[in-house]
């Protein structure tokens, strides 16, 4: 291989260091107007009336749009359940929900007018806690349930959805109760993982306009084809007449998956006939999407020799006011919580609850970190109690290559024992430096989502080639990696290839840019497209012909040859998941005993990626994801104070800073070419995050003498943990 496997420079690098890379927020279209959102100041209330008079009187205001004013349109979107209105119609379900959209000639006028929209509410009882929401007598957020969209890739079934149950996953095997009764050691604990905000630095924004009968939207969406579907439904347009274009995206991490502000911008354009930009602030973005917090009750049963006999997980997710992606997170949390171990008996019950809080949806890791905290900490605790080394305990139970962890699913396409050896060697386990603690853990995520991906390759008359793909460039380096695959497959230098991406009017269908799938799945569809193009060249000009010659011979003047390729749930992609994304991360940490402040001094990760098509990019993903894990481990949490968020800003929601980075970083790559992607690649970008929370907690636990059960490990929480007289978990 010439290009694949090389850390070639990012194709978007020069544009990004010079400030010339265009993000949706940097675009303007002629005649563009500005939308600003008036938001609910109640957690749960009936809208009695909306007075838009004062807002309309502001100079420059074109329209003040309310849910009720759009009566013929059904404003609801949602890829699993279509229950999320772009503007509240008769009720608001959380503080911060959009109630009206002001469209004005200037941002200043729109923002001023939005503050003047006056809503008359009748307060309704609110439920802010997920366990309470599932209990008796809680106010029900969605008394009338809407059917699911029956999308094969999204609808995971589960128990009957009544009350505030948004989604549920319930499965298992073996006799858990018998195993618990017979075990030498049973650990039981309740763990809490916070609700988080992805803080992609470019806040949600979109520009929408109706042009010649089509809706054209520029947006920050990670999954433009999913957004296209929602917009087509709302405006009763064929998919062919909705064009969603996604330029460079200023960070995604899952937080920009699915529909956000696009319907608002489109409604503004629909009503005014003018192009409308809706650009949210960070605070408004926090009020748009967060991740699911979780309360995890876990039991693990062990034999005296360390054999993991059974696991029993009961999880309640706080999923906020609307369905959004929580059913999928719920299903994934269930699949990922018990870990990549051989376990004779498993019982998992995850319930996602509606509460009167900001709706939850995807975030990097996607259910994995929530469950991993409990599962891995119980491995560490069990090791202590059984007098077995924590590494040895894991090695005894961890699955070997090819073994299933979910019956009927794809076997593990990774070598976890070898990964654990690499990791613990890097960490110096078990010999922590004086006063320090080591913590580490593993995870396995069923990644790749539903494997649908289409790619198109165009061979040009001058011997260059371009590919059109639906994948978005979120910073992960998709354009670079796909360029490398294109160059490698066609035997071209990087200078002669280009990627056109993420324009539903131009590029072929892509299910999502999420679940760490782009390299593996888009890569494979691109390889298929290259093969198709080469087949056509051979048909036209014989085997071994140069494609430029074939084009010239066939067309005489100009012309091009097009190849298409697709990946679908068929053949080698039949078995789900398309691949497993492994997490294998650990830390060495210190605790300031007097203040409780945790300092992570070393962060080691093993990227079991099959094959690194661009090692520098994988390194960046592994460190970036693990750093996000450190944020959740140490400082990040959205806090509700009564019915409102106490910290909807970057002043009080603390993400990792430069000084938080460990002194020693070791990002190890394990390349065994055991993945389904190009050249044996698998996905990366989320795995290293997933075990970090538990690893930091384990390190802290080893220092202070008892394992924490709740993240983030703020100084105060660690200080209190160290004061506690209770026995260990």
């Amino acid at each position: 291989m010439k290009v694949a496997g090389q850390s070639v420079p990012r194709v978007d690098g020069p544009a990004k260091v010079t400030g010339r890379a265009r993000y949706a927020l940097d675009l303007t279209v002629p005649g563009m107007t500005h939308g600003a959102v008036a938001r609910s100041d109640r957690a749960h209330a009936r809208i009695l009336s909306v007075d838009t008079g004062e807002a309309e009187a502001v100079n420059g205001v074109l329209e003040v749009i309310t849910g009720a004013s759009l009566a013929p349109l059904d404003l609801r979107f949602g890829h699993v359940v279509r229950d999320h209105p772009a503007l509240a119609v008769d009720r608001v379900l959380y503080h911060g929900e959009p109630v009206a959209l002001v469209v004005a000639e200037t941002r200043r006028a729109a923002e001023r007018a939005a503050r003047l929209v006056s809503v008359d509410y009748e307060d309704l009882p609110a439920v802010m806690d997920a366990d309470e929401a599932l209990g008796e007598g809680a106010p029900v957020l969605h008394p009338e349930r809407i059917e699911r969209t029956k999308d094969e890739g999204l609808d995971q079934g589960g128990e009957a959805l009544v009350g505030n149950l948004c989604a549920a996953a319930d499965f298992g095997w073996g006799d858990v109760d018998a195993a618990l009764a017979a075990a030498d050691l049973v650990l039981e604990g309740e763990y809490r993982y916070p609700m988080l905000y992805g803080y992609a630095m470019e806040p949600y924004n979109a520009i929408a306009s109706f042009e010649e009968g089509s809706l054209v939207v520029y947006s920050t969406a990670q999954h433009p084809y999913m957004v296209r579907e929602d917009l087509a439904r709302i405006f009763a347009l064929p998919l062919a007449r909705v064009r969603v274009v996604v330029p460079y995206v200023g960070g995604g991490y899952g937080s920009k998956s699915y529909t956000k502000v696009e319907p608002l911008a489109a409604l503004g354009a629909y009503v005014t006939g003018r192009p409308v930009r809706v650009a949210l602030s960070v605070e408004e973005s926090i009020l748009t999407t967060r991740s699911d917090g979780a309360r995890v009750r876990a039991r693990s049963a062990f034999a005296a020799d360390g054999t993991l006999l059974a696991r029993d997980f009961d999880v309640v997710m706080d999923s906020g006011a609307y369905t959004d992606n929580s059913p999928v997170v719920c299903a994934k949390l269930a699949n990922r919580c018990f870990g990549p171990y051989r376990i004779g008996a498993v019982r998992v019950r995850v319930r996602s609850a509606f509460t009167n809080t900001v709706p939850a949806s995807s975030l990097r890791g996607f259910g994995a970190p929530q469950g991993n905290l409990a599962g891995e900490l119980q491995m560490d605790d069990a090791a202590d109690r059984l007098g077995i080394d924590a590494l040895a305990l894991r090695l005894k139970n961890v699955v070997r290559p090819g073994e299933e962890i979910l019956p009927g699913k794809r076997g593990i396409d990774a070598d976890l024992p070898a990964d654990l050896d690499l990791l613990t060697t890097s960490l110096g386990w078990p010999n922590a430096p004086e006063g320090r603690g080591i913590g580490f853990g593993i995870s396995a995520s069923d990644a790749g989502a539903h494997p649908t991906s289409v790619a198109m390759v165009r061979l040009h008359a001058d011997g260059s080639a371009s590919a059109a793909v639906g994948a978005t460039e979120l910073g992960q380096g998709s354009r670079t990696v796909l360029s490398q695959i294109l160059a490698e497959q066609l035997g071209l230098p990087m200078e002669k290839v280009a990627i056109v991406a993420a324009d539903t009017g131009v590029t072929p269908y892509e299910r999502t840019t999420g679940a760490s799938r782009t390299t593996a799945l888009v890569g494979r569809s691109l390889m298929a497209a290259c093969a198709d193009a080469k087949r056509r060249v051979a048909e036209l000009a014989g085997e071994g012909a140069e494609f430029a010659d074939a084009i010239k011979a066939f067309f005489g003047a100009g012309g091009e040859i097009i190849g298409v390729g697709a990946v679908r749930r068929h053949g080698e992609f039949r078995k789900m998941p398309p691949f497993w994304e492994i997490g294998c991360s650990g830390v060495v940490a210190a605790v300031d005993a007097e203040t409780g402040r945790v300092r992570v001094e070393q962060l080691s990760t093993v990227g079991d990626v099959g094959f690194a098509i661009n090692p520098a990019l994988v390194h960046g993903q592994d460190l970036g994801a693990a750093t996000m894990g450190l944020g959740a481990a140490l400082s990040e949490q959205l806090v509700y104070d009564g019915q409102t968020l106490a910290n909807p800003n970057v002043v009080d929601y603390r993400v990792p800073r430069c000084s938080d980075i460990p002194e020693r970083l070791d990002q190890i790559l394990a390349q065994r070419q055991d993945g389904i992607g190009p050249y044996g690649a698998k996905g990366a970008g989320e795995g290293t995050l997933n075990p970090v929370g538990a690893a930091v907690a384990a390190a802290v636990g080893r220092i202070v003498g008892r394992y924490p059960r709740e993240l983030p490990l703020t100084p105060e929480r660690v200080w209190r943990l160290a004061q506690t007289e209770d026995a260990r978990v």
Binding site: V17, T18, G19, R20, Y248, A616, G624, V655, I661
Partner: protein, 156 residues
């Protein structure tokens, strides 16, 4: 809107402008096509909107446009005006110090301001200077490496 006439130098070009008093520097720049500086936190915390005002880094999101009067502002777009990337930009590429790129213009301008006031910073000094600039993608280490690399380049 109340307005003030100002004389300023934007990326080396002297100009006289009429600006609204309440206009923010970030909007003034972005409305003129200089979209390298980005709005993000809008609270002087994240650094995505960093530009150099008379050589010092400032948050353009919380600086009045009228502050340009009699002063000089430089944005990321000006760094390769001579046709070559600035050593800081080169180093960011070499050290893979960017992913989504949204923080990158601010990081580059912050780093450049540091190296202008302290041409040979220690690793700790770079970390301290960048403490007020958020990157959500990279884990910072490549950025710190890039600044140190740029310092070497500029010394050579």
């Amino acid at each position: 809107m109340s307005a003030t006439t100002i004389t300023t130098r934007i990326n080396g070009r002297e100009q006289t402008l009429r600006v609204d008093n309440a206009e923010l520097l970030l909007d003034l720049l972005r409305d003129r096509g200089l979209t390298g500086a980005k709005p993000s936190c809008e609270m002087e915390v994240c650094g995505a909107c960093t530009v150099q005002l008379d050589g010092l880094p400032v948050s353009a999101c919380t600086t009045l446009a009228v502050e340009l009067d009699g002063r000089s502002v430089e944005t990321v777009e000006h760094l390769d005006a001579g046709g070559e990337l600035h050593p800081v930009q080169q180093a960011f590429l070499e050290r893979s110090a960017l992913q989504c790129g949204f923080c990158t213009p601010g990081m580059v301008m912050t780093a450049k301001a540091l190296l202008e006031s302290n041409p040979q910073p220690t690793r700790d000094e770079v970390t301290h200077w960048l403490e007020g600039s958020i990157c959500r993608c990279t884990g910072y280490e490549p950025i710190v490496d890039a600044v140190l690399t740029a310092a070497q380049k500029m010394a050579a």
